[in-house]
């Protein structure tokens, strides 16, 4: 073989070899890149779905909670009244509102379409040779979303009880107030009615008014 032939052969081998190995590299890189895109998209889609469901289940639960608290409060007030007169009706409303709120929340939880829990995400990313930093970043994002879902589920479940206690307290406060004060002094900013030492119902500041007995 002549020198020119040998060199031409070597040149052809090199060009073809580098071209082929470059194509393999590009293929591998693109494969991993698209897998990574898919993985990230699954995480983001899971996050978006969880956020949407969390809002809708809270909205739904708040309706049931309100209805339950009102019904429970009125029911308790009615039930407590005959047995313990005024005090019984107040405690009855308090306990009824709390129990009704809890029951309403639990009904909302139990009847939530598709289950009350936010579905966890579990996308899988195949191993690879490249994009170490992006892989780590995607895994961190996955952990963040999983943690958010887990916390949101815990909070939702706990909130039935905390809301029930809160509703009971609210009912109790309302029952201790004069019904006319449930909504404050509408239209009179800064004014406050108090009972003075003479037993007169007056505006804070001195104006004598009429006290309802």
């Amino acid at each position: 073989m002549t020198f020119q032939e040998i060199m031409a052969k070597a040149g052809a081998e090199q060009a073809a070899g580098w071209g082929e190995s470059g194509r393999l590299l590009t293929k591998q890189v693109k494969k991993e890149e698209f897998n990574l895109y898919d993985y990230i998209n699954q995480i983001l889609a899971g996050q978006q779905a969880a956020e949407e469901k969390d809002v809708s289940r809270k909205r739904r639960k708040s309706g049931w909670r309100l209805g339950g608290a009102l019904l429970g409060g009125v029911g308790g007030w009615l039930l407590g009244g005959p047995g313990g007169a005024a005090k019984g009706s107040k405690w009855g409303a308090t306990l009824g509102a709390g129990a009704g709120s809890l029951l309403g929340s639990k009904i909302a939880q139990a009847t939530e379409p598709g289950g009350w829990k936010l579905k966890g995400i579990n996308p899988q990313l195949a191993g690879g040779m490249f994009f170490k930093g992006q892989r780590e970043r995607a895994d961190l994002k996955k952990e963040d979303v999983s943690r958010y879902i887990s916390d949101a589920n815990k909070f939702y479940e706990q909130s039935a009880w905390t809301d029930a206690v809160q509703d009971a307290f609210t009912a109790r406060k309302m029952m201790l107030l004069d019904p006319r004060d449930w909504f404050g002094d509408v239209g009179v900013d800064g004014d406050e009615w108090i009972t003075n030492k003479f037993g007169e119902y007056v505006r804070h500041g001195g104006t004598v008014g009429f006290k309802y007995e």
């Binding site: 040998i6 060199m7 081998e13 393999l24 590009t26 693109k30």
Partner: protein
């Protein structure tokens, strides 16, 4: 490493990079700083170096030069032999001619004018012969220079190819670095089969 290849690399100015030219891909991977499984995983992204090809090319260039040199020397030898024969023949004929003229005239070849004329003719023959000889020698030198130039350009082509190969290795290494290597523990994950395009698109999220 092959001693002949080492010399070739040194002549090409690549003596310090001779470790890249062993023909062992795992060696290159190590030299590029890729570790562990990467040496086997990444081997497929490099083109193997075949030392024998370049040794064959260097041998072919040397042989070709030797052949040309031999041909030039042979031709010069033939030309000089031919010239020598021609000159001797010419001189012999000249001498014979003057002897004949001297004998015919009765003065022999000792006569002054005849002797002078005969001497000048011989000088002409010798001068002509020397001119031809120097012409042949110039031709030989020109041929030798052309042969050396060709040899040099052939060696240059080999050096250039070696350099190109090393550049390709280093460039591929740089490209791999830019892809943020994971450690090579993985494999051919997923099912995508994309075509060409850029490598390091940032994945924004």
């Amino acid at each position: 490493m092959n001693e002949q290849l080492q010399k070739l690399l040194e002549a090409a100015g690549l003596g310090d990079f001779s470790q890249y030219f062993t023909g062992d891909l795992s060696q290159i991977i190590k030299l590029l700083g890729l570790k562990g499984d990467q040496s086997t995983q990444f081997g497929k992204f490099f083109q193997q170096f075949n030392p024998q090809t370049y040794l064959d090319a260097a041998d072919a260039a040397s042989e070709s030069r030797d052949v040309r040199s031999g041909m030039l020397s042979g031709r010069l030898g033939e030309q000089l032999s031919s010239l020598k024969r021609g000159t001797e023949t010419g001189l012999e004929r000249g001498r014979d001619k003057f002897r004949e003229l001297g004998a015919t005239s009765g003065f022999g070849d000792k006569f002054g004018a005849l002797k002078r004329e005969g001497g000048e003719s011989i000088e002409d023959i010798i001068q002509k012969s020397l001119t031809q000889k120097s012409g042949y020698q110039r031709d030989f030198q020109r041929g030798s220079i052309a042969s050396e130039e060709q040899y040099g350009s052939e060696r240059g082509a080999i050096y250039s190819d070696l350099q190109k190969w090393l550049n390709a290795v280093l460039a591929r290494g740089e490209r791999l670095y830019g892809l943020d290597l994971t450690g090579g523990g993985g494999g051919n994950g997923g099912s995508g089969d994309p075509g060409g395009g850029g490598d390091t698109t940032p994945l924004g999220f």
